[in-house]
Every structure is written in structure tokens, then in C-alpha cells.
């Protein structure tokens, strides 16, 4: 890991070979020889662990809510929450986050409430009406389209001399095939913007495996095409992801003379579950493929590390589990009590409601009045 001088001592010597992902913890959660844990306080470490637990529980609850028909299609993150939580821990409050449909935990850690995560899954867009003090964009669904936008925002901060603000942009391995990935990263290199691009390489883009996505050996090496630094990190090692991301953000804000601000981080992960609740991975991949990855599970690894450090025990674990459980239950109740107002359809299309939209809204209201709400909830097909 060469993003910052101070970073070097923290990471294992394993990582000297460029293509091997950087790690701090071994598969069982022990500190690797020559590696050093990031300078996080015990409280921060435990809180990171709690967020990992929350992420995993959230995922399970969301999947089951979807099965019960209480929310729509959901994109699970189990196996990837370590990387999500850790990248967001590396952010400072003023930094901006560009998430995809899968980065629930990353959004939560950077300030979004649990109910706001669930609302869009219930078809309510006010979950995307993100509060002023939370620097997160609504999730990006069209693949890779966030990349040039994140680049643009970072450039804007740079032009405004807001050197303390960086932008972190998430996307998947599949996203690297899109033109927007290329255009965004090429601009980032040319304009040398304070941005960190995190490729959550979970080995699959729905049913397409990583090696059918691109013939390049690693995704990190694509950085060479843009004159920026590329780095691979073990995405199931929350401490390594934290450290690599922190260094990249710090370089983005304050590079040395021969450094360039942007970094492409390839966070090597695995999608344990389905692409979304609408997907059945058994059609296209072997069940046992996950096993090797589960051996390096981020939640287990961080827990073991914390046990080893003596900052986590069973009492605290139970406490965390309970707290997380009730937080999620509460969020679900809040969201399920919320209702959508048909008037929202016409709001915020433009800053001012144009005449034609006023007419259309009035037309809809008149029909609702005349025929009742039931007339609009008929199944169409």
C-alpha cells in the first residue's frame, strides 16, 4: 500500500506484491506479522463491530421482509458489509458518499437513518430526501453513472478550495465495463480531483463472473490507464479496508508533491447471497464457492480480533445484538406506518410546478375524488 508514507508500517508485507490484496488480519482475525492495526480507539473498534452486526442483521431482516411481500426487491450485502462499514469509517463527516443500491451499511454509517434506508424499498421516495447534515447521494441504480458525477463533485470542491472535502464513490466489478466508469476515471486523472473510487469486486455481476467481465488480471490495474494509483485490498478485512481507504482519502485531500489525488481501490469481496431477492444464484454458480470466502468472514474476523484485544466479550456482544435488533424493529415500524401521497408524483419535478403538471395533478385529484382510491389500486395485469 503506497498511498501514504505513514500507511506503510500498518500493512502486512504480503502486500508488497502488487497484485496480492492488502491485509491486516489473517483469516481468523489475528494481526498478520509485520502488520499493525489502524489507530482506532477501542470504542471506535467496538462501534465498528456493532455496525457490522447491524448490517448483517439488517440484511437478514430485509430479505425476510421481502419474502413476506412487505418490501420490494432488495439487494443483500452479507459478506460485503465489512468493506462497506470500514470505507465509511474512513470518511470524515464533510466527505461525500456516492452509493449504489447495495451500500446500505455504508450509507448508514455515514449518517443516514435506518428508516430512510427502508423507505425506498417500500416505494417511498422521501427516504432519498437526505437531511442537510448527511453527505450522501440517493443510491445509483443505472450502473456506473455515479462515477463521472462523483468526479464532478470532487472537482467542484477542488475548484472552491474545499481541500478538506473528499468524495468516495462506490461501484461493482460489473460497473468497470461501462463507458461511464472509464470516462469518470479518465477525467479524475486529468483533473486530479480529491476522489476515491471503490470497486466492490464481489466476483459477480448478477450471473456474470469476474473473469468474463474483463480480461485484465486485476481491476486495480485499470488505474494505470488513467495515470492514477490502483490498490487491492482484502475486502473481508475491515481493518485493512479502513486503513487503505483512510490513506486514499488523506492523499486525496493532501497529496505530496509526486502523488496524484485520486485512487482506485479494488476491494476484493464475495457476494455470499443472491444478487437481489429476485435472483437465484444456484442457477449459475456452485453453492460451495462461497465456503472459502466464509472462512474469512468480516464479522467473525473483527469479532475474533476484538476478543483477542480484550475489548469484546459475550456480555457486550449480547448487548449489541439486542440493541441492533430493537433499532431495526423500530425502523421497520416507523417505515410501515408511513404513507405515500399521490401529490408527490408532481412535486419536485421542477422547482416550480409548470402549468401542465398542475393540470395533470388536478385531473388525477378529480378522478380520485370521483372514483375513490380503490380504483387506483387494482392490479393492472
Amino acid at each position: 500500500m503506497s498511498t501514504q508514507n505513514e500507511a506503510d508500517p500498518h500493512v502486512s508485507s504480503e502486500s508488497t506484491q502488487r497484485d496480492e490484496p492488502i491485509r491486516i488480519l489473517d483469516d481468523d482475525g489475528n494481526l498478520l506479522p509485520n502488520a499493525e492495526a489502524p489507530s482506532l480507539s477501542d470504542e471506535q473498534l467496538v462501534s465498528m463491530y456493532e455496525d457490522l452486526v447491524l448490517a448483517r442483521q439488517f440484511d437478514q431482516r430485509a430479505i425476510s421482509l421481502q419474502r413476506q411481500g412487505r418490501i420490494a426487491t432488495y439487494a443483500p450485502m452479507t459478506g460485503q458489509e465489512g468493506s462497506q462499514v470500514a470505507t465509511s469509517y474512513a470518511l470524515e463527516e464533510q466527505d461525500w458518499l456516492f452509493p449504489t443500491y447495495r451500500e446500505h451499511a455504508a450509507k448508514y454509517v455515514h449518517g443516514m437513518s435506518l428508516p430512510s434506508l427502508l423507505k425506498p424499498l417500500c416505494g417511498l421516495r422521501d427516504g432519498y430526501a437526505i437531511p442537510d447534515d448527511v453527505n450522501v447521494l440517493p443510491e445509483y441504480i443505472p450502473i456506473a453513472t455515479q462515477v463521472p458525477q462523483a468526479m464532478g463533485m470532487a472537482w467542484g470542491h477542488h475548484l472552491q478550495d474545499r481541500a478538506d472535502t473528499a468524495v468516495l464513490c462506490h461501484f461493482g466489478d460489473g460497473a468497470t465495463s461501462e463507458g461511464d466508469f472509464h470516462e469518470g476515471l479518465n477525467f479524475a486523472g486529468v483533473f486530479d480531483v480529491p476522489a476515491v473510487f471503490v470497486c466492490n469486486n464481489n466476483q459477480w455481476a448478477i450471473s456474470v463472473p469476474r473473469d468474463q467481465q474483463t480480461a485484465s488480471d486485476t481491476i486495480a490495474q485499470k488505474a494505470a490507464a488513467y495515470g492514477i494509483e490502483g490498490v487491492r485490498v482484502d475486502g473481508l478485512d475491515p481493518l485493512a479496508v479502513y486503513e487503505v481507504t483512510r490513506c486514499a482519502l488523506s492523499k486525496a485531500k493532501n497529496p505530496t508533491d509526486d502523488e496524484r489525488r485520486p485512487t482506485l481501490i479494488e476491494s476484493v469481496q464475495y457476494r455470499y447471497g443472491a444478487h437481489t431477492t429476485a435472483d437465484d444464484p444456484s442457477v449459475y454458480r456452485e453453492e460451495d464457492e462461497a465456503e472459502a470466502w466464509r472462512q474469512k468472514d468480516p464479522v467473525d474476523r473483527l469479532r475474533n480480533f476484538l476478543y483477542g484485544e480484550g475489548v469484546l466479550d459475550e456480555t457486550l456482544e449480547d448487548e449489541i445484538d439486542d440493541r441492533v435488533d430493537s433499532q431495526i424493529s423500530e425502523a421497520i415500524s416507523t417505515v410501515e406506518a408511513a404513507e405515500a401521497d399521490p401529490a408527490h408524483i408532481f412535486e419536485h419535478v421542477y422547482e416550480e410546478l409548470p402549468d401542465r403538471l398542475r393540470e395533470q395533478r388536478d385531473e388525477l385529484n378529480a378522478l380520485r375524488e370521483k372514483y375513490g382510491e380503490e380504483a387506483f389500486s387494482e392490479v393492472l395485469e
Partner: protein, 338 residues
């Protein structure tokens, strides 16, 4: 001209859903013509996110049913190149809302290669895409912007509303010498079954279908909106004795102007039903075409019953956005009572 699906000598049928009929069409054409290849995201082993290409990979192998990298412009550009090499590519765009990255390849090249080269080269490709709302899908998954493609000369645009049409129109599209944007109403993918001829047959890319006859008003629609329109037509017949003629356009470009105008000459009143935003949607083209050719028959303004001029809302509100039977019914009555 109205024309039902015309099976050839083989008179057996299968009871298929619309998505099965799509799959059947692909299977049929791939069997008949080894130049037909299917490409797109997740169309291979996974059989497509809607299973429209199910079992094709197993049957025809990875050289003819190809999972591509995640890049729509690459997919359509590649399909054009395959066509130039003599193949007959059928490209799947996973959802119509993800066709925009490929827009340039579609409107600047697929559509123009023939005219640019004065007839020497062409791009006989099919671009399949599920379109439309109503299935509680996330943002961008409910697009219905057929007008974008209808406005581009050189393209054909097709949109079936029944399993039998889906099969016959898709086979005709694959065989068509011109590029076809083939929009599949995903709301209807599994909505109902219908007897579909087992053999190979074409539904011509030229003819609208009269789904219901009537004298009081002509209602033009296509794809997923055909169903609520037919419901509305039955309702107004039962409750008000108003007989609506329902015209399912099937091919959106080129339009079957003859059938459209003939129906209007009979009824003198019309409505157009579509999911897309009203402004600059296809409803405008149909209404304008009618008044250009049959203004003297016109007894009332032609009514557009369409999506609002807003993005499709998240799913809690999509039933308010999409033209429901009740809105269609109200629009029919308003036009008839004018």
C-alpha cells in the same frame, strides 16, 4: 389492416405466457437459422433476469447465447458488428431504462448504416427490452419511452400485447432486414396464458390488430396498456352502452396508418392510451396523423390518456401514474360525451 397470427401448416399449439412465447420465438429462430445469436447481460446460464432466454444456453451453447460484459453501448455496437459479419444478432437490454447508454449506437448507427452506405451495409439486429411499469420495480426499471425510437428514421419499433403476437412479431423482427427495437411488456410476461402455435410463423411488422370492435370511439393502445383498455371498454359498454373499438398498434414504427385512420373514420372519436409521459409521446403522433387525414370526421378532441409528465414515481405510487381502467373509462366517456 387487422390480421390475426397466422400459423403455417403446423396447427398444434402450446399454452404459453408472453415471456415463454418470447423464448419460444428465439428457440424457433435459432433452430432455423444458425446465424441467429443472442447476446446481453445474464442471458446465458442464468437464462435472462426474466427467464426470456431460459434453456437457450444449454441448447445452443455459449457461442450463440452469450453473456456480455456489463456495457450496453458495447452490446449494441457489438451486435451491429456481428450483423456486418453476416450474423443475425438479438441483443437483450435488461430493462428499457438501461438502453440509454446504447442510445448513440442505436440512433447514430443501427438506424443509419443502410442509408449512409446507400444500401451497401445494413444492421439487421433486434434489440429486445422489457419495458413499462406496474411490477413494483426500483427506479429506472419502469421506462416506457417508445417515442424516442419512433422519432428515429431507419428503426422499426415493435410492442406485442399477447403471447401469440409476441412469438410471431419476434420471429418477424429477427428476419426483418432492418433494425428492430422490440419492447416487451413485462407487466404481461406472466399475466396470462394463450394458445400459441408450436411452429414457426410471422406476424407482419405492419399491421395493427383490432382487439374489440365498436362504433362510438376508437381507442388506440399497445403493449401492457391493451389490458386495462379492454377492461375499460367492457365497462363502458356494460354501464353506458358505449361501444369502443380497441386498436392494438403492435408495430409502433412504421405505424399502420390505414387501420388507425379507417377506424377513426368509422367512429369520429378517439383516445390514445400509453404509459409514457404525455408530452411528445406517441399519443401526439397518432392524434396528429388522424386529424391530418380525417379531420372532417372528427366529432371531439382526441383524448390522450397517458403517463404524467413526471418521472415514474417509486412503486408506492405507480398505480396512480399508470393509466388505470378507471382513467381510461373516464377519458372514453368524456370524449364520447363531448
Amino acid at each position: 389492416m387487422s390480421s390475426a397470427a397466422t400459423p403455417d401448416s403446423d396447427r398444434r399449439t402450446d399454452s404459453l405466457t408472453l415471456v415463454e412465447a418470447v423464448q419460444d420465438a428465439l428457440y424457433t429462430e435459432m433452430t432455423a437459422d444458425e446465424n441467429v445469436v443472442v447476446l446481453g447481460e445474464d442471458v446465458g446460464e442464468n437464462g435472462g433476469v426474466f427467464r426470456a432466454t431460459e434453456a437457450l444456453y444449454e441448447e445452443f451453447g455459449g457461442d450463440r447465447v452469450v453473456d456480455t460484459p456489463l456495457a450496453e453501448s458495447g452490446i449494441v455496437g457489438t451486435a451491429i458488428g456481428l450483423a456486418l459479419s453476416g450474423m443475425r444478432p438479438v441483443a437483450e437490454i435488461q430493462f428499457m431504462g438501461f438502453a440509454y447508454p446504447a442510445f448513440d449506437q442505436i440512433v447514430s448507427h443501427a438506424s443509419r448504416l443502410r442509408s449512409r452506405s446507400h444500401g451497401k451495409y445494413s444492421a439487421p439486429i433486434v434489440i429486445r427490452a422489457p419495458y413499462g411499469g406496474g411490477i413494483r420495480a426500483p427506479e429506472h426499471h419502469s421506462e416506457s419511452k417508445e417515442a424516442f425510437f419512433v422519432h428515429e428514421p431507419g428503426l422499426k419499433v415493435v410492442c406485442p400485447s399477447t403471447p401469440a403476437d409476441a412469438k410471431g412479431l419476434l420471429i418477424a423482427s429477427v428476419r426483418d432486414p432492418d433494425p428492430v427495437v422490440f419492447l416487451e411488456p413485462k407487466l404481461l410476461y406472466r399475466a396470462f396464458r394463450e394458445d400459441v402455435p408450436t411452429g414457426s410463423y410471422e406476424v407482419p411488422l405492419a399491421d395493427a390488430a383490432i382487439r374489440r370492435e365498436g362504433e362510438d370511439i376508437s381507442v388506440y393502445t399497445w403493449g401492457a396498456m391493451t389490458r386495462p383498455t379492454l377492461i375499460a371498454a367492457e365497462n363502458v359498454a356494460e354501464e353506458y352502452g358505449v361501444e369502443a373499438e380497441v386498436v392494438d398498434l403492435r408495430t409502433l414504427s412504421p405505424l399502420d396508418v390505414e387501420t388507425i385512420v379507417d377506424s377513426f373514420r368509422k367512429t369520429g372519436r378517439a383516445a390514445v392510451v400509453h404509459e409514457a409521459p404525455k408530452t411528445a409521446g406517441l399519443g401526439a403522433e397518432i392524434a396528429t396523423t388522424i386529424q391530418e387525414r380525417a379531420v372532417c370526421y372528427q366529432k371531439a378532441p382526441i383524448k390522450r390518456i397517458a403517463g404524467f409528465d413526471t418521472p415514474m414515481p417509486l412503486h408506492a405510487l405507480e398505480d396512480y401514474y399508470l393509466p388505470q381502467a378507471v382513467r381510461i373509462q373516464d377519458g372514453i366517456l368524456e370524449t364520447v360525451d363531448f
